[in-house]
């Protein structure tokens, strides 16, 4: 575990994706593959922004546990999760997950696994801000997000994509 780089951050401010993934890559040793995921606040007809609420302390701990679980499943060199909270306008990045590895499959699977568990196991909640002003509803958790977790139970997964 000692030579793995793991960085978890929860913050209000926007961040520089390139600077963050460059730093992760430099700190990850002999990297052959970097996979990064950016979750972006999507427009719809009525939305102007999302308000992200989190449970301080538990959120960081849960994300770290998810990243550790990913590192136990695949030969990951480095993992980075930055999750913003507060008001995030349409078009801005809400979350960045980046994973480095020697080879591509561990990086793809690790990043995808972290995102799936972050969605349903890390304590964040989203509320809509409407374009015509005022707040909309809290966004319900999706059943498909909970269902997505089960595909990682398959024992075959980590072995046939080494």
């Amino acid at each position: 575990m000692s030579d793995r780089t793991i960085k978890i951050a929860i913050q209000q401010e926007p961040f520089d994706t390139q600077a963050e993934t460059d730093l992760l890559t430099r700190q990850s040793g002999n990297v052959g593959a970097l996979v990064s995921f950016s979750g972006i606040c999507r427009a719809d007809d009525t939305l102007s922004a999302l308000e992200l609420e989190h449970y301080p302390g538990m959120a960081e701990a849960q994300i770290r546990k998810i990243a550790d679980d990913a590192c136990a499943k695949w030969p990951i060199l480095g993992a980075l999760v930055i999750h913003r909270v507060g008001k995030i306008p349409v078009g801005e990045t809400i979350v960045l997950v980046a994973v480095t590895s020697a080879h591509r499959h561990a990086a793809f699977d690790g990043a995808s696994f972290i995102m799936d568990f972050l969605k349903s196991r890390a304590p964040f909640w989203k509320k809509e801000h409407l374009a015509e002003g005022g707040r909309g509803d809290w966004i319900d958790a999706k059943e498909s997000d909970e269902a997505a977790l089960s595909r990682w139970d398959q024992a075959a997964h980590s072995s046939h994509r080494s």
């Binding site: 999750h83 972050l118 319900d140 909970e146």
Partner: protein, 84 residues
């Protein structure tokens, strides 16, 4: 005294983000705790009416309704998580 934390619409319906409460010693599981808390006023009853859509963490660990409180110092109540 136990620290109670509320998030998302649970917080909005109860009207506070957190509070300190004495929980009676007869309340020993998460389910019993939610029943007891829903009797503490109209806003609690309203916030906790739909137990199936509530999640509870004891000392920042997600637990199920049958979990014992086990002297937890911090109990958080919130809807299913929807981050990312």
């Amino acid at each position: 005294m136990t620290k109670l934390l509320y998030f998302s619409w649970v917080r909005e319906r109860i009207g506070v983000a957190g509070e300190e409460r004495d929980i009676p010693s007869t309340v020993s599981t998460v389910e019993q705790f939610l029943n007891w808390l829903s009797q503490q006023g109209e806003q609690y009853e309203n916030a906790l009416a739909d137990a199936a859509s509530l999640r509870v963490a004891l000392d920042q660990t997600h637990v199920t309704a049958d979990a014992p409180l086990n002297g937890a110092r911090e109990i958080a109540i919130f809807p299913p998580m929807s981050g990312g």
